[in-house]
Symmetry: C2
Subunit: 246 residues, 2 copies
Amino acid sequence: MSSSSAAPGRGEKAQAATAKPPMREALVAAAFQLFTERGYEQTTVDDIVALAGVGRRSFFRYFPSKEDVVFPDHERCLADMTAFLATSGAEHEPVRRVCDAARLVLRMYAENPAFSVQRYRLTKRVPGLRAYELSVVWRYERALAEYLRERFAGRRDGTLQADVIAAAVVAAHNNALRSWLRSDGQGDSSAAVDHALGYVQSAFGVAPAPGPALDEEPDDVVVVVSRRGAPLWRVVQEIETTLGRD
Amino acid sequence: MSSSSAAPGRGEKAQAATAKPPMREALVAAAFQLFTERGYEQTTVDDIVALAGVGRRSFFRYFPSKEDVVFPDHERCLADMTAFLATSGAEHEPVRRVCDAARLVLRMYAENPAFSVQRYRLTKRVPGLRAYELSVVWRYERALAEYLRERFAGRRDGTLQADVIAAAVVAAHNNALRSWLRSDGQGDSSAAVDHALGYVQSAFGVAPAPGPALDEEPDDVVVVVSRRGAPLWRVVQEIETTLGRD
């Protein structure tokens, strides 16, 4: 069930009665219509089911609470992400893999820009929804971190690196996503997220796609370092200066 | 008002009556005694004020809600962090500065290990408290990010870098903090956090303290790079191999 057919304004009562769009999406549409007209706090579950033309039990069959109807697709997206990571193999570079997993979240938002922008504005206004969103973001971050912890199991500081990289990926993704939402869903969200994730990949020593494969012959670079004990950051600083990057 | 004198078990009714420890801390102690004995959900504000020997109004003078009494020092710590960052100057390297700001949070936890460990166990069991904690963590992260955004104002991708580094710092700090809490507050929490933050500093191209100052003469490293267009990650990979690091 995709959010693209849960566009606010498309799920009027008459449509719900004909089961097009399905009941779950009709409930989402009715809820957003009322949240927009009356405000989130002033809308009850009873109001929502009355507009959608269904009973209370139908609402709670799909949504544990009023908050959940605001984020109808996160559970599906979390399940997709978990499945995506579970099907990873040793051939997948781990940092790139969690970046690809994060792109699943963007795709969910980008499926329906108008709905996503409307929800973004609503969430900004209602503290309870912001708290709910934080808990969802935390679950995405934990899914990425758990995957990386497994992949880094043999490393010294594996759990530290996993937690830090997962947090960095989520922060980069959300920086680009929020810019796009603030711009009313204009522009290329996918390119913005790619750019943001590229920053994380370069920070953690992995080539942003489309870079050369890691197993390519490393004969395109010759490096001479004067002292064995020199700190790596200083070496990188030197190279950046040499290459003319900021 | 420090959490060190809010140790559970130290704030019995008789002490509250003599104003030692002060009322606020007596309320925290009474609350934790009841949370431990009865469980968090089964304890009401009325129970807490009865044990502390004060009125309901006194409770709400100090704490907006029952959740707030579980985290009595975060507001002070957030204020300390904000003040610390506000007094920063151009001479402070920004990434190191936010790492130092994060250490203020550790210090708060380390002031009273027994209380911190008890709260950690309680928070793990109560979903409402976990949600509360996420919102507090988010406020710390935003404080760090806002500071970095100002410092990076002239940079391309300044807000992206600020958000990612702030998230990485918080994740590294919390990785070390939680390991320490899981070990019942044994071991050197400060060294563990320093190590974790060192990883973030090296990832973002800044020397972990105590490294050489950034304005030192850069004559200790000579680097030759064969091709101008070579990707930086590949260069770093080469250097790591040359230096014999993993």
